[in-house]
Symmetry: none
Subunit: 204 residues, 4 copies
């Protein structure tokens, strides 16, 4: 229904994906700057020139990746858990985002690197990925607050706090920066994070 599968366009899209995948692999291994277009071409199984038939320049590969990840939004999640309370939603949400992180593998790390290094890319990522997804959670929280089921805390801050808490823990786990995380299952991690955010630290 979206687009008729014009065979030509389909082929082009496949090529795009092929190149993007190759680039992702090389970026994940060497980081953006140390990845040469030669590396990328080789990894994607095309010639260097072909890359430029599908992307403006090397940086454009990054931007395209951001948009790629952005496609995979939270919409389905919220539709699948319409009226759940936070106790069910929060772990599910973490699982979903974690699944995304695992799918895109360590590509996330070099992507983040460039996001920090590049003002424009940072804005691009924030607007394309963070904001649209965050907004759903914000709205959900707002409803819960109005229903009296959640403390009156700024949903914007909560959302970013959640993202930060999740990302930092995932990063440490995936990068094997701290061996204590190697003995910790993702389920346990999400469970504990959920508890923190739901019930707070203080013993009641």
């Amino acid at each position: 229904m979206d687009t008729l599968p014009d065979p030509k366009e389909q082929l082009a899209e496949a090529r795009r994906q092929q190149i993007l995948l190759g680039a992702a692999r090389v970026f994940a291994e060497k980081g953006f700057h140390k990845a040469t277009t030669r590396d990328i071409a080789r990894a994607a199984g095309v010639s260097e020139g072909t890359i430029y038939n599908y992307f403006e320049n090397k940086r454009d590969l990054l931007t395209a990746m951001v948009d790629q990840v952005a496609m995979d939004s939270l919409r389905q999640l919220f539709e699948a858990h319409p009226d759940d309370d936070l106790r069910q939603l929060l772990p599910a949400l973490m699982h979903d985002r974690a699944r995304l992180a695992m799918e895109h593998g360590l590509l996330l790390v070099p992507l983040l690197a460039e996001v920090f290094a590049d003002e424009d890319l940072r804005q691009h990522l924030y607007r394309q990925i963070v904001l649209p997804n965050a907004r759903r959670l914000e709205e959900y929280l707002q409803h819960q607050i109005e229903a009296g089921r959640v403390r009156p805390i700024d949903p914007v801050i909560v959302t970013r706090a959640l993202i930060g808490a999740l990302v930092s823990n995932m990063l440490i786990k995936l990068s094997h920066l701290d061996e204590r995380y190697d003995r910790l299952s993702l389920d346990d991690l999400f469970q504990q994070l959920s508890t923190i955010f739901l019930d707070g630290l203080l013993a009641s």
Copy 2:
């Protein structure tokens, strides 16, 4: 007791700082990769060659900066708030880390960029800065848990969650990524973050 102020060494140390400061300024403005040694030399008021009398290479400037930041540890904070409960400690801790971020200004952003891009630097930063500071909080939390004042939640996870929540919010605020943060004082931000972590989201 540490080092007698050998006048020669003092001069050298001053020079080091001078270069580091210049580098920090340029990194903050252009990011690590777009900062040329020429820029740095100019900003520091020395010649390019002189940089290499004090630092191995350009990347070493980054490493040195990490160590610089690391010096400024949490030690004093915990000594100043020995027996405080979390309600006092948490906002103070955030203020302290935020002060650090403001002091080093947006240098943090390019620093983070390279931290993500560079495996070794990532480990270096984690071990030199994150771990030592985190450990103090972990220990503190452990004591509080044992004393029954805090829920039995893994202090390691809590600590990283706190760091992530704080860093993500600060980053958005300092980078002006989201205009809603422009109307939010740091005090309010810290207050809300503290509440989230202390009391949780759920209405009691």
Copy 3:
């Protein structure tokens, strides 16, 4: 009599002209080197590949243009002014060559550029265009000298002097290099150039 209009060949010739025209337009606008085959294909309304069905390579387009211009020779002019004396012939000749320049527009400039840059092309142009046309004037001058109506000056030198004088003035006028030429009609220009060559500078 030359070639029977074989409909197939006619179509091919039309295509050739179509491509050549597109190339001329692009060359005139961007110069030879900055004109890409893609530009040319687009301007000619064909695909890049098609260009290579009609021309060996990009440079061949230039050579073909030279020959194109060469077709338009002075023959008719001399046939139309058989017995005129130099006083009539010279301005007519300048007009004719100027008309040619205007017709081919500023294509001449990038063409000249490559002529200077490319030894082979330079010879090609000299032999295909300059020599055949110049020879007619040389012969005419030779007759006039033998008839005592023109000073005994080397017709070869005179001819090149005339060409140079005409081309340099036209170039400055067409390229708007000198605003004083903007207030000068072509007629006046040719009149003055003719006077110089006919009567010389010295007051008699």
Copy 4:
């Protein structure tokens, strides 16, 4: 008197000349576009990087050459022949310009090529070289016209006609485009050109 010979600056100027000379040699041999920076570096006996310490980019080498040639102006000539009439001045002037052409050798040809190809360079050359030199001759002619020794013909046109006549003949001779020029001495060439411009073609 112009500049105190600062030894450092002198060295730098020598380097500049060294690079310019190398570039001139390569340009003369291969033309501007086919000359690689590698070629130029090798010909100049420096590394590629060094070129860029003295010139903005490859094209800047051309611009610098234009200015170099421009230095060598007609001033001395007019000062040496203050009150001469055209009969002496014209051949002297041609000799002088021809000497210049010989000195800079066939560098002129690739220079001209780029002048035709590059709008900006064309203006640069016209203003830096042609205009200043032409103006002296124009003024001289104006005086002679007012004194009644030269016909009242636009000095601007005459000057460009002279330049064109000289350049075209020289180019053919130096490029060996026409074997008839191989049997013609420069002196004879200049003598005939002078006669044409002074006395005109028509037998008196």
